[in-house]
Amino acid sequence: MQKIGVFVCWCGSNIAGTVDVEAVAEALKSVPGVVYSVSYQYMCSAAGQKLITDAINEYKLDGIVVASCSPRMHENTFRKTAEAAGLNPYMVEIANIREQCSWIHKDKEEGTKKAIVLAKAAVAKLKNDKPLKAGTSQVTKRALVIGGGIAGIQTALDVADAGYEVDIVEQRPTIGGRMAQLDKTFPTLDCSACILTPKMVEASQNEKINIISYAKVEKVSGFVGSFKATIRKKARFVDETKCTGCSLCMQKCPSKKGKDEFNMNMNNRPAIYIPFAQAIPNVAVIDPEQCIKLKTGKCGLCEKVCAAGAINYKMEDELIEREYGAIVVATGFKPIDPSPLNEYGYAENADVVTSLELERLMNAAGPTKGTLLRPSDGKHPHEIVFIQCVGSRCDENTERGKPYCSKICCMYTAKHAMLIRDKYPDTNVHVFYIDVRTPGKNFDEFYRRAVEQYGVDYIKGMVGKVAKEGDKLMVRGSDLINNQQVEIAADLVVLATAIEPDPSARSIGTMLTASMDTNDFFTEAHAKLRPVESPTAGIFLSGVAQGPKDVPETVAQASAAASKVIGLLAKDHLVTNPCVAESNELMCNGCSQCEKVCPYGAITYIEKEVRGPGVREVRRIAQVNPAVCQGCGACTVACPSGAMDLKGFSNKQIMAEVDQICL
């Protein structure tokens, strides 16, 4: 006869407030099989756990039910406690009487009745529990980082530093990501390339890091410790091993109409190009849309000119298939397109630019070679207006933009304003803001210097309309402090647009079954306690893929993700989930209905001699590979005879729970 112990938690007043915990403990005493039933203030505390271990030893319990908070919170805690006391950790059941009972029912009497039923259901489930032993699965000692921006690079460097192989898959021809496009960085104003390129070089020189550029991940299968990823390396038409990056071909290439994505399409580039000087790998790439040779078969100048003979027009996409133990998502972000917000006239006026476009205009390697000129007529702008929160902080049900604050715009606008005022003292800078958010170290001091030392005019109010008049841009906005409407004839208008996840994020999210929120940012396992892990085991989040953040935070999170990866790869084998499917060979028909619905291909078939009461014959029976099975249970329903059952959530257990609940 089973000896079950029931422990009802008060959770301070969280449960005891609206559930009579004493009555629950009392009611459970009369349930057949329960030999010990008690309630205590904090079951998850050390004292609470000691109560459990003592009870197990004293009453020789062979199963415990803890009526407390959600199993997603403390199931592991109580399993470890039971294991420490010598009880099989899977003979522990949790009744969720906090999130799903005490917190949502005001009436104490009703809450108590429900808590009793939930506890009895847990006892009924426990009675059908069987001791389970966690299996093990091997760990491939290699990590995959999707995205080669600062986040991906930092994570890769840290993981490689710990001695593990890392593959970085970058969709653009070069790593460096968004940060490579920046001119200076706040709050220290050091040049973005100067702090990024050493990291890029370090990544390329580290023999543990393998950079797969101009490639994207196509398919991911498997699970933590043994993922299998298929990577499509797009054809560069340039042999990476031969090209020396001399850029002779770029000068000779006759097709000059390609839009330079790196410079935000503000100038043109040849069909064969290297995105920017410090690109890693410093190898040219041919844009198939622009290259005359690839489109019409004529030309081929770059091949003639190339001393290293690196050009190869016949190159095909290459599919690489590799095993990984862990995957880090570092897909980064892109600014939103402000054209739908037509009051700013972004689409109509070339002189209305986004902040990232301004970064390129001020950058020495930018389209204007570092001098700030108006994109329309190339004149020097004397009046510049910055507009904050363009497309950020909008109400969800108005399709006007993103509901969240993009976090970095206040700081980089202060940076831009300061740099412009410093380089061109005769230019007036106005900034329309709702509130300036400077939440980091030396951030507010930085903003005050922009206002006090460099005389940037901050106007508390918003711009209603930007209209072109003559060669000027009439910016009309409100100045709430002076309670007046202001009209500024600006030469250049800069929009601090909201940022959104990289378009590739959604497809990668589905591939990894990593859950994403409605704004396509990756959802973290726990908002406060596990910010760098995805709920899917083995998937980690680094950088803006998880939410808006600036460079310092991105690097911090990248290293955090790296430490999680190192923690995982350091293990020789992983403890696998024992609640996996199992087939009863006596009843299996071998009809392979279960194999069709298994998402992981964990089921194979063998011819085996089956011995049972009155039966001895060779039959085709299903076999589940416990390392691959993740315990979803799809096969148990596809199996008509009930031969396939799921350990930990067996048919009998769930039916026992249903019976108790419907009593």
Binding site: L586, C591, Q593, K596, V597, P640, G642, N651
Partner: protein
Amino acid sequence: MNSIKSRALELLSDGTVKRVIGWEKGEGEADWSPALFETAEEMNSFVYGDYAGSNLSKYCLKFNLAEGKTLVVLKPCDTLSFNQLLHEHRLNREKFYIIGAGCKGMKDENGRLLKCNACKGKDFEVYDEIIDDEESRKPLNVFDRMIGVAELEKMTAEERYEFWRGELSRCIRCNACRNVCPACTCVKCVFDNPASGVQSKAPVTDFEENMFHIIRAFHVAGRCTDCGECSRVCPQNIPLHLLNRKFIKDMNELYGDHQAGVGTEERTPLTSYTKEDAEPSVVHERGNA
């Protein structure tokens, strides 16, 4: 059709097959039953004709492991069931020599069989040899098999409930429908297994009757070839085919036409999916209340 008989006799005597599964005639005019013939002289009581309505593919399960080949005579609709069993790896194709027998529509003592009024065509899915004649190749004039289901669907929920309570209340749980069904071939049926939690032997309450028939229809959904044997053998004349055809109609409407036992594709509508499937609430919106 005695050319089938002579051909079977020939194959039995020259040793290619060890046994023949066919039909045998009893006293009554429509008193035909499936029979096993292992020796040549047993064969002279072998018959094939208008009363050979039963589907022999399920009997092959008994001889799947027997030594030597077995000859089985299958009508076009029976080959669908045989092929479905092949899809489920229940039968070893080499162990069977299949004669595809032409069929002009079978009958029993009270006329043409219900399943033949909705005949699904005269082509054989799997065979070693076909013995038929011109006349048996002509398609039968059939009505749309989903008429019965459509009529029921037009009724209000109350009428449907009364109709099914009337029909299913006559069920005596004799399991003839389960034991004859070529798709219901579990080694140990859920309803016979004490550990399954749903074991039941008698229609004690109307819930148990509903439960047995809903779960049975669900287990064969996607695999049922609509061979009509369940309704034919039911001693209480319950129109069980209306349950299976309802699933077939729904699956065809929602997930695209699928005839179980055709071709080599082993996936059935319930073991496959598309990302754009209809939501379960679609069931609540269509048709009348």
